[in-house]
Symmetry: C2
Subunit: 590 residues, 2 copies
């Protein structure tokens, strides 16, 4: 029986030295552990995601092949599987294969090449790679026969998916003609809601169906809007989970006799999520979402050389959740919360922001905005005779001005500190309809919650208050009050205008987003649709139509803002993030 290591590493695209060193370190460790086989993720040596970099910088490919040879020369008394971008030898077609080298006794004895090349959502395999025409040969190790496939190659099991596929062959089925006893899947697979349930059922069913051991090795870590959740694992030939590596971090998992440690998953992550209809019950996805958002922050800061974050604390939900996530990711001593009240800011909001900062133990500063706004107003008034003080006071200009001056202060504060990034606190629901200010709340070096809708944020806030070691860090008042930017006063009530007054109920808005993203719904589909919100609220027909119209118009105008969003992290199955879904600025979708 073979001792097998699942080397779940975190790579940097194009940084061959870094990736190679990591691979070598793990191989040396495995050798000293007397392991027989060590498996790295898909494209481990190149690093992923790599954009177009090796198409332009051919030297990266050369460095990669050099290092593959260096690694091979170390690989005695152990077999190593290394993912890399392999130049094709023939002319015509794409320049590379997406390959896994099987290295034994200093030599590459076998190469497994990816056959199914995903080219949707965040995947662009066919931009770089030629699909392999044949299933690779199996290799033997201590009397066991192993077959190797690459990521997507395992995702075309007809019995499992029961629907038409974009691919013609099932590489696993083809591979089984050679009768391997174990199938190894090298992957780079980003986290999404509901994905763990599919991976678990699919891999288990394949192991059971073919009576094989199934080994899955996935990358860990964050890069360019994607988090790779690790959770490499082994199913035995009955389809039972026999080993599972850590989630959302690097790991070195040891299998002996196809048994090993089963690390826990974030709570609820293995459950099947309701992805057929919209509802606001996110409970099975909150622990994963939290893990995703925090590990993304940690890795983004780390990989870019930043240590500290500064954000505006308005006493509202978005900035409060961001503050918790940052404190948990970077350490509370590395987070600066800045309260920047204007005349419109209520004393409650000011107070809630302060209490939140105290609860979290982060640094707290208060800078009142009043003078600043007056100075700007004077400057603008002097420039435009037609801008009267009264008109100006009620305009969008003054609303945006507050948000922009706040962001200017945050960027100035980050300028004054080393390795500090300002944070964009906008959430997905508001970004979707453009209810976010350019150079204001949507400006920053990173946007932690840009892919989380408001109803999910409410659930997340509640989850954080209940499950973090320090309970109830977010004051209950912040969760209970109606969300609003506090940038303008309702003349009738004398209170600041809340967001749902200006837009529509968040439950309604989030369902609109959900059906557009998952079903491509258009205006007419929604008119005939029974909303979740309507279960507990009476909405007359005209009101419903107005909200739907407003949604389509506002989201149409907001697309430009999606194009200038700071880096963020994709978390749900569908995203506002252009790395997942490419929405042109100039187009009409409804």
């Amino acid at each position: 029986m073979n001792k097998i290591i699942l080397a779940q590493i975190n790579t940097i695209a194009g940084n061959i030295d870094y990736n190679a060193n990591k691979i070598k370190f793990n191989i040396e460790k495995a050798k000293s552990d007397n392991a027989d086989l060590i498996i790295f993720p898909e494209l481990a040596l190149m690093g992923f995601p790599f954009g177009d970099i090796f198409m332009r910088h051919k030297s990266i490919i050369e460095r990669q092949l050099e290092e593959l040879n260096n690694i091979a020369s170390l690989t005695y008394n152990i077999t190593a599987l290394i993912g890399f971008a392999e130049p094709t030898e023939h002319s015509g077609g794409k320049p590379f294969y997406n390959s896994v080298a099987v290295i034994q006794n200093g030599k590459i004895i076998n190469i497994a090449r990816k056959r199914l090349l995903p080219n949707y959502c965040e995947f662009n395999d066919y931009r770089y790679f030629e699909p392999a025409k044949e299933t690779p040969e199996t290799f033997e190790l201590n009397g066991e026969k192993f077959g190797v496939i690459v990521c997507e190659d395992s995702f075309n099991d007809k019995a499992f998916f029961k629907q038409e596929s974009i691919y013609k062959v099932d590489p696993v089925e083809e591979l089984m003609k050679q009768h391997p006893s174990t199938v190894i899947n090298c992957s780079c697979s980003p986290t999404r809601n509901g994905k763990e349930f599919i991976k678990n059922s699919l891999f288990s069913s394949i192991a059971k169906k073919y009576k094989i051991n199934y080994i899955y090795v996935n990358q860990a870590g964050y890069a360019d809007n994607l988090t790779f959740d690790g959770t490499s694992r082994i199913y035995n030939n009955k389809g039972e989970l026999a080993l599972r590596a850590k989630s959302f971090e690097e790991d070195y998992a040891v299998s002996v006799d196809y048994k090993g440690k089963i690390e826990p998953l974030p709570q609820g992550m293995e459950e099947k999520l309701n992805i057929k209809t919209f509802n606001i019950n996110y409970k099975n996805d909150l622990a994963r979402t939290y893990k995703n958002l925090t590990s993304a922050i940690k890795d983004y800061f780390n990989k870019n050389g930043f240590k500290k974050a500064v954000l505006g604390l308005s006493g509202g939900l978005d900035s409060s959740v961001c503050a918790v996530l940052l404190a948990d990711s970077l350490g509370r001593e590395n987070v600066w919360g800045v309260s920047m009240p204007s005349k419109i800011t209520s004393s409650e909001s000011k107070n809630d922001a302060k209490i939140l900062a105290q609860n979290l133990g982060i640094n707290f500063i208060e800078i009142p905005l009043a003078n600043e706004i007056d100075t700007m107003k004077k400057m603008l008034s002097s420039a435009f005779s037609q801008i009267t003080a009264e008109k100006f006071e009620k305009s969008t200009t003054i609303e945006n001005l507050q948000a922009r001056l706040r962001a200017t202060l945050l960027w100035s504060i980050s300028n004054e500190h080393k390795q500090m990034l300002p944070i964009a606190t906008s959430d997905k629901s508001e970004l979707y309809i453009g209810y976010a200010t350019i150079n204001g709340d949507m400006s920053g070096g990173y946007a932690p919650i840009a892919d989380v809708t408001k109803t999910k944020l409410f659930a997340l806030a509640d989850f954080l208050n209940k499950t973090r070691e320090t309970k109830n860090a977010i004051p209950q008042a912040i969760i209970e009050k109606p969300p609003g930017a506090e940038l303008k006063i309702n003349a009738k009530t004398g209170k600041s205008v809340c967001a749902e007054e200006e837009n529509m109920p968040y439950e309604f808005l989030d369902e609109l987003i959900w059906f557009v993203e998952t079903q491509g719904f258009g205006f007419q589909d929604f008119i005939n649709h029974k909303f979740y919100y309507e279960k507990n609220h009476t909405v007359d027909k005209a009101q419903k139509e107005e909200w739907i119209k407003k949604f389509f118009w506002k989201s149409h105008c907001a697309v430009y803002k999606w194009h200038i969003l700071p880096p963020s992290v994709i978390t749900d199955s569908h995203s506002i993030n252009l790395a997942e879904y490419r929405q042109p600025i100039i187009s009409k979708v409804n």
Copy 2:
């Protein structure tokens, strides 16, 4: 002999009603002109570029097929060629073909499907389309035999390109087995420097080689960082240019007996450009660049419902060239130039900005910044005991603060006017090394020169001064003085620090960019490289190495800024624009 219309239209992606109406209008006109055949560009009914929209919104495809039928029902006594996204019938593979319908007497009699699917730079065909396996059948019209190909299908002529291709077949060669007398190429081909020379030589050589008439119909207009330059044309069967439609705008070009009007090209556009070595002689590309930049502004504003632009006028090169381009695109009455001098701004710069505005006849406002900066400084100082006035005065913070307050004023001014966009004036050279301020000069609703390097901008300024109707609109002092942001004072000279002092000579910088983009050069390649700049300047080895190092480090840190750039337009063969080259934020390329 057939009378043929080349319908060079400007489409909107996904807006099937809009595109269909445009197609119908042109067909009706062609019918009233007694034309026999009318040809539309590739994907004319869908509109291009469409991102992922029809993958999510299936209703767009349905609408498109409905309208294709409606169009067919109009098509009597004329043959029409309409590009559209055609659902594939078989299972497996991509869901669509990139097709051209041949419509005659109310029926689709033939469909030509694209075989070669580009998937590099701005092209993503394989993300959506299945490559056709076979060359389409020719069709007959009044005794003539026509073959139809789609764009890239014409770009694999082995005799012409003489280099290894990523494609295995040459669809034109295959098509010739059916002996058509005319080949029609329906395209959506964006402008680039040097591309017209290649298109002209290639198409002409194909016509000559096969002794066929060659008809090329291209889209016109701008969308999502790309300008389609039109210039549809016909070569006769001797390879001679027989007709050419307008450049950079819609046209309806009439061919009788393969003869028609030959519209002029922007000056120098048909010349072969030097693309083998770097130099700063841009003369053959300035007229095209000007046309590209101005038609992009015009179409971006028009398609997004904006009419007016506001920009800061610093008295420097970038904002001056932007002002000219905006005045020429939108009309001088629709442009607002705002001078926002701070203490550091020289009286010369202030004066130059004013003269420029007067020369152009645009609206001009002056808002001195002084108070504003003092107020911000006080606010920040009160927040941080460690920020002393003296330290702050010399910090990057105060430099950035000036740029950010200026952008805040511009956004406020745009808020106060309807349909007005603020303009980001950053150029490519400075963006490449991050010498642009987030929420400052790189903030705006559109960035007209984000893809133009500084040395090319100098040449363009000179070109504008010489060729525009009103000569010398840009004061010579602006072109002659060393560029600089005027955000900081050199303590020794008492003058504001110029950009080349802080960075490196622009000639040197632009050559670094050029070799990275075209040859993928790394650090060591440059150390051994003889720079154009070195021809007229002595640069010692240590200085050269320092500049190269600085370049790689600064451009590495600047990538984040490229990801949040406002919409712009790609103009050269290689671009900083992510629509052309995808540079991940987290990666290492050297």
